[in-house]
Subunit: 193 residues, 2 copies
DNA sequence: GTCTATAAAGAGATAGAC
DNA sequence: GTCTATCTCTTTATAGAC
């Protein structure tokens, strides 16, 4: 019951781990710190997860899945390519900056995964990137964006993923403001207000 | 002689540490691994550095200084705001992707610094960002870039800093190609070829 | 499912000889 | 400046009782 358990309790534990991995980084977060935050002793942790790395894997899986779900919801019913790009950008920043945990860990801590876990998760990552690929391709074909798709996509996602390094949730700008600013920067002249 | 030693030997050791921190991350690189790569025993390491974190500090300092120096050289004699932006972008990608070590560590491993080291290095970082601030401000005033300076700067640097996550040195694109692509993406329509 | 207790390994760092 | 030897502490993980 350890590997494929999606009980409410397990989700709580994964959420707590996500918060700590986000705040301190995976390597610096010990199993004792994790257990204490979960209200249990460190030995009990290994009843829920086979090892520490499995916790990271669960956090990253949860981060990718929530990013994917919110992105799909954001795109629902949207037709115009530029509107799609804005919606996708807002969705991405929303999971990154509002619920600043699992998605951030998914972006920054993949190096600590075992090859097996990486192999398991790489499909999710590719699925998410495919969403971006198709929307950016549409924008290029509609002539509102210019450049090679893969380069534009990597630059856009880089600009977004780096926001976690400088964004201040207490500041005056909302994630949606930032999304608008990026899309306006990438496209010729201002199209949105 | 440990703290303020810039001998050739010390620079070699810092360069080796930079490579390992870049490849495996700071936390996962043990002092034994460092020492082995340096051709000495782990005990000898502490003749050169007070502790492990001091090695990281030296690596980051070296990364910031080389980024700064190359940026200054790139800007020398350049007058046009767009040309300055392109030069600065090329310089940044050059230190990040060609000599893929100390500058990358400087960007990604600041969380493992002690408050004292951070305080020591934050001035260097601010100095480097000021270069970017002034060039982007010039571009906005010259009407070739649009938006708030700080937002544009963070997005541009984010897009650049994220390249280390996906750039393939064996691929067909050079760092200079990428720099051109980014500047063209940020500015209205294509200005450079 | 959680506890206590602890094994086993690895980490950073030190001391003193050469 | 490097070595050997080792200390001390922390880490992940396990075993068995409750």
């Amino acid at each position: 019951m350890t590997l494929t358990n999606n009980s409410k309790r397990r989700k709580e534990l994964v959420a707590i781990a996500a918060r700590l991995f986000f705040e301190q980084g995976y390597e610096r977060t010990t199993v004792r710190i994790l257990a204490e935050a979960m209200g249990i002793k460190s030995g009990s942790l290994f009843h829920h997860f086979t090892d520490k790395q499995a916790i990271l894997c669960a956090v990253i899986e949860s981060g990718m899945q929530s990013a994917m779900q919110i992105a799909h919801e954001a795109l629902e019913g949207v037709q115009d390519p530029q509107d799609k790009l804005l919606a996708l950008t807002k969705a991405h920043l929303s999971t990154l900056l509002t619920d600043r945990n699992a998605h951030v860990v998914a972006l920054y801590e993949w190096r600590s995964l075992t090859p097996e876990s990486l192999h398991h998760l790489v499909g999710l990552r590719d699925e998410y990137e495919s969403l971006w690929r198709s929307v950016i391709q549409e924008c290029i074909q509609a002539d509102v964006l210019h450049g090679e798709e893969s380069v534009v996509r990597h630059f856009a996602l880089g600009a977004l993923n780096w926001t976690v390094q400088w964004y201040d949730p207490q500041g005056q700008r909302t994630p949606d403001d930032l999304a608008l600013a990026l899309v306006n920067l990438l496209m010729d002249r201002t199209h949105f207000n």
